[in-house]
Symmetry: C2
Subunit: 135 residues, 2 copies
Amino acid sequence: MENLIRGEILRNEYKIFEIGMFKKEGENSYLEIYDEFLDGIDGLTKNSKILIFLWFNRSDEEGKRKTLMVHPRGNVKNPIRGVFSTRSPMRPNPIALYTVNIEKILGNRIYIEEIDAFSETPLIDIKNYSKELDF
Amino acid sequence: MENLIRGEILRNEYKIFEIGMFKKEGENSYLEIYDEFLDGIDGLTKNSKILIFLWFNRSDEEGKRKTLMVHPRGNVKNPIRGVFSTRSPMRPNPIALYTVNIEKILGNRIYIEEIDAFSETPLIDIKNYSKELDF
């Protein structure tokens, strides 16, 4: 898909799918993987580190996606600066990244340590953590 | 947008935009930020580390996005396993992540060290690297 402005291609758009969901239940935090993507978690093991990519759907609205300057951590005492120099959930593409340990895997659930995301946040990718790549 | 299968909501889809492009020119590798997103890079500085999120558009096709098991690094000697336990570009959402140093910033170009991406790969996000978050 392409957006044309003044006859020029300004930017392209792409489609991402949920592969599952981040959920909290009492003390537990886990990734629930949808059945159709379950083969993809083969090879993930307890006590290993992964990168998880969430889609901050509460920030998926036009105004928030157009926000380019923010006060880091939402605190007006922090001087305003560009979203790309922060981890703000308000950004053109509300992708969130967490590095976490796998506590256990039970069926389609990958239990992880607690993170500051809301329950039922869409999960869009998981990658193995690599000390060489993610220093 | 929702996909309905047998009357159930199976998964949701979301839209991502390019905010720029990764480019190689001779010895140089840089991120070219589109004008409309340029305010977002305020606060990024030379010699600091950032996470860059690319969209591997060459893997953005149905067959590759349905691939859930791969031989890591494309080498058949590596036992096949789930894409989410690898960094394969073939995965449901072909997001690539790199941790890089900023060498210099000139106008809308952020010069970075060399990475193994093709020139003209879409850029979808930049975040500041955090030793606490990205251990």
